[in-house]
Symmetry: C2
Subunit: 403 residues, 2 copies
């Protein structure tokens, strides 16, 4: 525990937010910081949760413990609607209370003796859980932990690492569309990654929490993958984790899933799924049944899926507005097209300084790039998760600040 750097990123931003409010008590602070959804959940979903909850007070509708792996009906609809034609079986889907919790359970499964690789920058949860499990040495001055392979992802390499220079590790965490850069890996890139893992006998943990933000506009070979299982051979090397948080607004409701294919085996041939099932049954008792009722309503009808698509579109339009704002000002800006996150470069600057200056001058909260790894230095992440009005207002303030 002592090795963990001071303050998890978002609590640290909260502290700075509070200090800012003390300094400027009347400031109308707009948060484009933490990736927290703000749009209401479509009523087709909330009605289903309400109905399920009310039924719990009747003898016919009451249910106690569900299967630790989740309701059969929900596992089935995920296998069919999220993974059409990818050969994912209902039994390979494990329902959870969110991707972050699944990362912790996977790290518990992997234990302290594995080596891991992560994109740099990336969501800090993979590394932080690895540090807690004792997989790493101490952090150096840049924030890199000894023993972790950091795969630099920057504009210079199209946000995809040069795998020939990446050492073999037991596990590779890979997030696409990436948090924070907003970059979505192409089919060719994911194929390269899968081949790399197959050659090395590595397990890929593919985080597709933002898959619903991948635009369907580009067709054919340009169409970006929403799942690692669109790539041939992935079933033998990849676990996929995902979540209802960012497409259905379930950040507070808590619901996600992990896919562990039958073909994924340890070196001795034994199935990884058997051990993951054991971890799920021992360390977890299943996601809330009420949340699962909501998830089922979200995915099981065209009406439900359309309703959440409309919510995702709100955030995507926000993201476009933010991209345009920075682009108009001549900034190097990435992401936002297949992601709710916009990644902006401030060459030669420290990202915490840029964060502080933007907050001080515009009362807009962003996230300093270094919060996602040393490769985030010189960048800030701007989140599209807020109401249209506030994003418009924030864009206006940023324009003034950057002009």
């Amino acid at each position: 525990m002592e090795k963990l750097k001071k303050g998890y990123l978002f609590p640290e931003i909260s502290i700075r937010h509070e200090a800012h409010l003390k300094k400027y008590p009347d400031a109308k602070v707009i948060s484009l910081g933490i990736g927290d959804t703000t749009e209401p959940i479509p009523s087709i979903i909330t009605s289903a949760m309400a109905e399920y909850a009310i039924a719990l007070s009747t003898p016919e509708g009451y249910e106690g413990y569900g299967p630790e792996q989740g309701q059969k009906s929900l596992r089935k609809v995920i296998s069919e609607k999220i993974y059409p034609n990818m050969g994912i079986k209902e039994s390979e889907v494990f329902i959870s209370d969110g991707a972050q919790c699944d990362i912790a359970r996977l790290q518990m499964l992997f234990g302290s003796d594995v080596t891991i690789a992560v994109q740099d920058p990336t969501f800090p949860g993979y590394v932080d859980n690895g540090v807690i499990m004792g997989q790493t040495g101490k952090a150096d001055e840049s924030g890199k932990y000894a023993g972790i392979a950091y795969m630099r992802c920057a504009p210079e390499n199209s946000f995809f690492p040069d795998l020939s220079s990446v050492p073999r590790t037991d596990v590779i965490f890979f997030c696409s569309p990436n948090n924070p850069t907003g970059h979505v890996a192409s089919h060719a890139q994911l194929r390269e990654l899968v081949d790399f893992a197959r050659r090395n006998g590595s397990i890929i943990v593919f985080d597709s929490a933002y898959a619903w933000y991948v635009s369907e506009e580009e067709e054919g070979s340009n169409k970006k993958p929403r799942s690692i299982y669109e790539v041939p051979g992935a079933r033998e090397v990849a676990i996929e984790i995902s979540s209802f948080s960012k497409f259905a607004g379930f950040t507070g409701v808590r619901l996600g899933w992990a896919v562990v294919p039958d073909e994924l085996r340890y070196a001795d041939g034994s199935p990884v799924a058997r051990d993951f099932d054991r971890v799920v049954c021992t360390c977890f008792n299943g996601a809330s049944s009420v949340a699962q009722a909501g998830g089922l309503a979200c995915l099981s009808s065209e009406q439900g899926r359309d309703a959440v698509r409309r919510v995702v579109d709100v955030y995507k339009q926000n993201a476009r507005l933010l991209v345009d704002t920075f682009a108009d000002l001549g900034k190097e800006v990435y992401g936002g097209a297949h992601s709710p996150y916009v990644w902006v470069r401030f060459p030669g600057r420290k990202s915490w300084d840029v964060f502080a200056e933007i907050l001080d001058k515009t009362h807009v909260i962003t996230v300093p790039g270094t919060g996602f790894g040393p490769g985030g230095e010189g960048f800030i992440r701007v989140s599209a998760f807020n109401s249209r009005d506030r994003v418009v207002e924030a864009a206006a303030r940023l324009k003034k600040f950057l002009a």
Copy 2:
């Protein structure tokens, strides 16, 4: 992972249940096995969850991520209503998705280098999570893992270990009312335990998931404690974990809490709560907001608390019926008075054999005592969690079988 014994207890019972149904397709099986609630949740609670869910589809009512440690209002009402006059502060209460998940997070916090002691028999989650974390050696033939101190709790020692023969460990897991024996520790016993931990610099993890089953009939010095914090000095050595599952019927809804007092410190003087907070923020994203709305409705009014007390009384009456059934037949029977569990001795018999014979002859599912540790050999646990009708029917069948 390989060290874990085959099959978590309840999945193993499920498998035997299914095999039984194949053998006797028409059997009316009654489960007095897994401790799963069966009574509907009082409508004051489900209405609150439904209202909260519906509000999530409105701009005013929508909420995203809550604090990882739980809603302030729920933490407050727990500190006031569950721990009256015990000096527990709102900030010391961490809301969770259930006690089993908190055990996993605590074991993650403790890491692989600690030594642990458990009651024998006891809920298997403490040991299983310790094995996953790598705290133990291999299991011997009786099922005891090397490196764990098993504190025998049997009728012969009033279900409380002789602490003078228990080695010092870093952590002591202690469940009261105990699952499976149904024994509730007295004030004097808990005082002894707290003093032992203080002398040894050990941390007690006190599991009070069944605290609502402690009868209030015995007054004065005979009144049994519902919390470890009723004992002076406990704040400096004890974490308490608990759950809405067994008193509010939240086994599927998922809601619990852990109390980590400020005074609990490591040997170097640093607070345990700081590290636990870090684990909660890194490995968990908070309990479902809908479940939290239900928990608040359950505890915040006299009406809510009375409603769940009535549900607990249903199970307690079931338990009394089961105790009387076994007692009438001259069996040695324990528990049931302050607990939904009845613990019955079958001298000289293997508990899995008794389980199998009862299932075969009466179509009643119980739990073999050895599922809770080697000290459970010769016993079965009978759960009072079922409808009155089914418990009456099961009691009649058991009477016939045992006569």
